[in-house]
């Protein structure tokens, strides 16, 4: 995927890193951190959230989004790559797991958002009508103190 990203955005610095491990970033070097749609694949979230907190400046913003655990518990995340279906290993973290770990890493002002399937979504992805009204995306906003 980084290959594709590099071709699309040649000006953006990119690095290959395992988010279960220590991050190759300097302390207090970012104003904001986004971590979108990877949480369910990570086993060491405790370390990740601490590393992100360390990488943020004081008052820095953190946004974490993930496939809503309520849906993840019901549906196997299955992707379509060409004519094949691919099922990636996903861990069963719960909403409380995520919130406790973010809180435990020392973040403050934690706000939780749930986004549900709606008409706009069905317009974009017609087969998503089964998600109408169901919580599909969990997003957590937090700040460093």
């Amino acid at each position: 995927m980084l290959k594709v990203t590099r071709a699309k955005h040649p000006s953006v610095p990119l690095a290959q890193a395992d988010l279960n491990d220590r991050l190759p970033v300097r302390r207090r070097s970012f104003d904001a951190v986004l971590c979108a749609l990877v949480g369910e694949h990570l086993s060491n979230l405790r370390l990740l959230f601490r590393e992100i907190r360390d990488g943020l400046v004081r008052g820095g913003r953190f946004v974490f989004s993930v496939f809503h655990p309520e849906m993840a518990a019901r549906h196997r995340g299955e992707l379509r790559a060409g004519w094949r279906r691919v099922r990636l290993g996903a861990l069963r973290h719960t909403v409380v797991d995520y919130l406790n770990l973010i809180d435990g890493a020392g973040f403050r002002n934690i706000e939780v958002h749930e986004f549900r399937g709606d008409d706009v979504l069905v317009e974009q992805v017609p087969w998503a009508s089964k998600y109408l009204g169901r919580p599909l995306l969990l997003a957590v906003e937090a700040r460093t103190s």
Binding site: M1, K3, Q16, F30, I52, V125
Partner: protein
């Protein structure tokens, strides 16, 4: 039971014993009053070769019930062909009259079985004892095996016909049987993919009856792959942005709105994937950096 066939046979499961007994009875009946004794021997010789192998492996490597039943049916087709000779099978005449065909087409039934049954067997054995998984390579190998069996069988028939001229067992459609068998092998493969699937089953020799499979097992046997996370996303990378995905769509609509990137801000995207968020951050004038586990080249 132990007195007749010794320990190996007596330990076979009841279903297999039943098929074995029934098959032996039919074999004896087909031998009685056979149209031509030599033809009968030649036609049933595959049964005489296969049955001892199945009996010996019946406990250590039991096949599925479906496979045993298909072998039994195939054996019946051969026995009937051997009893009457293929050109004179009454069933063939009946079909000829009913459908106004030019000739007795019983040999085509034989060729159908010759492609279909070995395909099912080969597929089962390969799935259980080789690293092959359902897909193109399994199809190729199964087809190749069936074609090889059919070709070898036709050569054998041809040799037998040359050696014993006048024997009624030779195919009157030289070349066609292999083609038929190939089509039937393909049909068997397609049908089988939906119906059953014995997963690669690492060490288990237990037969998996197709009714006994759990739904999860069946799903897995379809074309679902379970790669490691990194491999999976790398494989997905080319089509990720084009594949409609409700979760990704919802994330793109809302998440960056929560982050509110501003001009000149340094932002880390941990798990940037194909960089959709990076592009939006760039557009807002911030200075993004991306981290991802996937391969960079």
């Amino acid at each position: 039971m132990a007195d007749r066939g010794g320990r190996e046979i007596s330990l076979l499961p009841l279903r297999q014993l039943l098929l074995l007994g029934l098959g032996s009875l039919c074999l004896a009946l087909s031998a009685m009053g056979a149209h031509d004794r030599l033809t009968w021997v030649l036609e049933v010789s595959p049964i005489l070769l296969a049955v001892p192998v199945l009996v010996l492996t019946g406990r250590r490597f039991p096949l599925t019930s479906l496979a045993y039943v298909l072998i039994f049916v195939h054996a019946l087709v051969l026995m009937v062909g051997g009893h009457y000779t293929y050109e004179r099978v009454p069933l063939g005449f009946w079909i000829q009259r009913a459908l106004h065909l030019g000739r007795n087409d019983y040999d085509r039934l034989g060729h159908f079985a010759q492609g279909f049954v070995p395909a099912i067997l080969t597929r089962e054995v390969l799935l259980r004892r080789s690293p092959l998984v359902p897909g193109k390579w399994l199809f190729f190998v199964v087809t190749a095996v069936c074609l090889a069996i059919s070709a070898a069988y036709e050569l054998f028939e041809w040799g037998a016909a040359v050696a014993w001229v006048g024997c009624g067992c030779v195919s009157r459609d030289p070349g066609r049987p292999v083609g038929h068998a190939m089509g039937h092998a393909d049909r068997a493969r397609r049908g089988r993919r939906r119906a059953v699937l014995v997963g690669p089953g690492p060490r288990s020799a237990a037969p998996r009856s197709w009714r006994g499979l759990s739904p999860g097992r069946c799903l897995m046997s379809k074309r679902v792959q379970r790669p490691e996370v990194r491999d999976g996303y790398d494989r997905w990378s080319e089509s990720y942005d084009q594949t409609p995905n409700p979760l990704v769509a919802l994330d793109r609509r809302h998440t960056l709105g929560l982050l509110r990137p501003r001009r000149r801000e340094r932002i880390l995207d941990a798990g940037c994937g194909t960089g959709a968020h990076l592009g939006l951050m760039l557009r807002s004038g911030s200075l993004p950096v991306g981290l991802d586990l996937s391969r960079a080249c």
